[in-house]
């Protein structure tokens, strides 16, 4: 059944492409559904702020022609899809004439760094801790900590962020209050900067981690409890193998497959949480960009940034799902003759 891999791949990539296409279309439709059109409302706003502008009608008309807003909707749509594919999202309203893409490019590395760090830590730490909790040889007093993970899982990252900010930045002053690095370091590959980034990133990472790691712990524990009843685990015990070897080779190894799926499923929640955490810590990532966009009613920025984050989530889920066949021999090693 070698076809399974191909089929899985095709289906997965198809879903991915459709997700991206659907969200791009959504952005287009929403933008067009806005009462009034963006160029006109933008100029009317400027007019309200700065007083009468002569020849405003002509200016608006010129812009409309330039942005193709006079074209029929279908032409606009096709152009829009083409632009989106090239990450061309037009200009920011509030920081005109900065292209939205430039704002996103500045914010993206910070957001990516934050999510990759939290994702890796939560997966490795969460599964390790979950395995320790489920292991029958773990001392009772360690197991008695389990209920407290439940508390963590129920605290959403936005609320955890408020708490951490208050305690560790405001009261204890161990960590900075906001931003991604201090003004007095030179950005680049130098140690002061890297240490600074770590220092500024700790609280945001912790805020996102707190909820996510709890879920990973609980998921791992539940999986291991289920697997402990399997015949092959019983046989491993009868073999008199080293208990630790049995734990990771027979139990954890098999529990990781569903845990990876769990990771993919939790990703969209993770990104959503991160948007809020960045806002609270004024961390210069995509979340803060959205927040600022909302404040200044900068629709192109809000829509483009949200779209980019959706794209990012979908891409990461795709990558995780593509990892799955690599670690599941039942998918990759079928037929046996090869």
């Amino acid at each position: 059944m070698g076809g399974l891999t191909i089929r899985y791949l095709m289906r997965r990539i198809g879903i991915y492409l459709f997700t991206v296409f659907a969200s791009a279309t959504l952005v287009f439709l929403i933008a067009r559904a806005t009462p009034g059109d963006p160029v006109e409302s933008r100029w009317r706003q400027i007019e309200m702020d700065q007083g009468q502008i002569p020849e405003i009608e002509a200016i608006i008309a010129r812009y409309k022609t330039r942005f193709g807003l006079d074209d029929p909707l279908s032409v606009q749509y096709v152009k829009y899809l083409g632009n989106t594919a090239r990450f061309d999202f037009g200009y920011s309203f509030s920081q005109f004439p900065t292209p939205v893409w430039r704002l996103i490019r500045r914010a993206l590395p910070w957001s990516l760094g934050l999510s990759v760090t939290t994702l890796l830590i939560s997966f490795f730490v969460g599964n390790t801790v979950g395995a320790i909790f489920a292991w029958e040889r773990t001392p009772r007093f360690i197991k008695s900590i389990i209920p407290s993970t439940l508390i963590f899982t129920s605290v959403p990252s936005v609320l955890a962020a408020l708490f951490l900010l208050y305690v560790f930045a405001m009261l204890l002053r161990w960590f900075p209050l906001a931003g991604a690095y201090s003004r007095d370091v030179q950005p680049g590959w130098n140690w002061p900067f890297i240490l600074d980034v770590i220092k500024y990133g700790t609280l945001p990472v912790l805020s996102i981690l707190i909820v996510n790691v709890g879920w990973t712990v609980l998921g791992m524990r539940a999986m291991l409890v289920t697997i402990a009843g399997e015949d092959y685990v019983r046989l491993a015990e009868a073999k008199g193998l080293n208990p630790f070897y049995t734990l990771y080779r027979y139990k954890v190894r098999n529990a990781l497959l569903p845990q990876l799926t769990g990771l993919a499923l939790s990703l969209s929640g993770l990104i959503a949480g991160q948007v809020l955490v960045e806002t609270i810590f004024a961390y210069p990532g995509m979340g803060l960009l959205i927040f600022q966009g909302i404040r200044s009613q900068d629709y192109p920025v809000i829509q483009a940034t949200s779209y980019m984050l959706i794209l990012l989530t979908a891409t990461s889920v795709l990558l995780i799902d593509l990892l799955y066949p690599l670690i599941d021999p039942r998918i990759t090693h079928d037929g046996g003759q090869a």
Binding site: Y8, I15, Y16, F18, T19, S23, V27, I30, A31, A33, A134, E136, L150, I151, T153, S154, V155, P156, L159, L162, F163, L165, Y166, M170, L177, L218, G219, R221, A222, M223, V225, T226, P258, T261, G262, L265, L267, S268, G269, I271, A272, G273, V275, T279, I290, F291, G293, I294, R295, Q297, Y299, I302, Q303, S306, Y307, L309, I310, T313, A314, V317
Partner: protein, 313 residues
């Protein structure tokens, strides 16, 4: 994507012991006698009761701007020369709104909207999951595709896009929008369960007994899925509340109606943390965390009811 992709906490229904024994189950030994479940349900019940009592006792006009003195700390505390009074036991914020009134009005709103969204999501999810699992074929393909696609999209972001353009959403519209992202979990779980139960002996027996698909779904399959139903409802409620609070914190949604998220947004905008006005953000946060914790305890308890192997270990 097969069995491994079922809900991360729920895996299987109780596997019945094959041996037979005539042991009468007292309530204490019933699976529903679950500490987490009971604790979560009772604390949540008390909270709701408290809010209801508050509604009839406390003056709700105090939730509006300028109804009270500004920046008053909770009773017994002092902040910048002002001492908290019993007139505003939980203090006030910088626009003169009473915190107690804000919570009494805000918390039920958050709960209700989350619950409504979850109910809509659950009904949709169960119907889709049932149809996909039971009918199979094209219906199943379409439902699975829709689920797989929407599950990969962070609901918050889509709602941000929608809300940024159409800011004036009422209660029901809001619940409807939130429910767009709370049906997938139910669909997945119920599809998987129905798929496995469809092959189970008692569903085959019901078909041989001339039962209609409707009877099979609702009389044979549904009663066995009650724990999943409750578990999903609580997860959906938390998820919807969380998403809505998230939007409100970002400054979207109906900002004029006091709700916990809006209060948080105001607190953040006014730098309440830096100004040391902890009650402004900490009280709504505490209420939200309490709600989330209760819902989670109920959900986890339900999972243990459905899967006895999780109970101890």
């Amino acid at each position: 994507m097969t069995a491994a992709t079922s809900n991360r906490l729920s895996s299987t229904l109780p596997s019945p012991a094959s041996g037979y024994q005539d042991v009468k189950l007292s309530f204490k030994h019933s699976p529903w006698y679950n500490g987490k479940l009971l604790a979560g349900a009772s604390v949540l019940g008390l909270l709701v009761l408290g809010l209801l009592v508050g509604h009839s006792v406390w003056d709700q006009e105090l939730a509006y701007v300028g109804s009270s003195p500004l920046n008053l700390p909770p009773v017994g505390l002092e902040y910048k020369g002002q001492v908290g009074t019993w007139a505003h036991p939980l203090g006030t914020e910088n626009a003169g709104r009473d915190m107690l009134a804000l919570i009494i009005i805000g918390a039920p709103r958050s709960l209700l909207i989350g619950f409504t969204a979850a109910i809509i999501g659950l009904v949709v999810g169960v119907l889709l999951g049932f149809s996909a699992g039971y009918l199979g074929g094209r219906v199943d393909d379409v439902v699975r595709l829709a689920t797989d696609i929407t599950m990969n999209i962070p609901g918050l972001l889509v709602l941000i896009i929608i809300q940024s353009a159409l800011p004036r959403a009422g209660f029901f519209t809001m619940a409807l929008l939130l429910s767009l992202f709370s049906w997938q979990g139910a669909t997945r779980v119920f599809r998987a369960q129905v798929l496995s139960m469809k092959q189970s002996g008692y569903v085959l027996m019901a078909r041989l007994s001339g039962s209609s698909p409707f009877d099979i779904m609702f009389k044979e399959i549904m009663p066995n899925l009650m724990p999943y139903l409750v578990s999903n409802l609580t997860f959906g409620t938390s998820y919807s509340i969380l998403t809505m609070v998230g939007m409100e914190v970002l400054g979207l949604g109906a900002q004029r109606i006091p709700s916990l998220g809006v209060t948080l947004n105001n607190a953040i905008s006014a730098s309440a943390i830096l100004r040391g006005m902890w009650w402004w953000w900490a009280l709504p946060t505490a209420v939200l965390i309490m709600i989330f914790m209760c819902l989670l305890l109920i959900a986890v308890g339900m999972d243990e009811v459905a899967n006895p192997r999780l109970r101890d270990a």
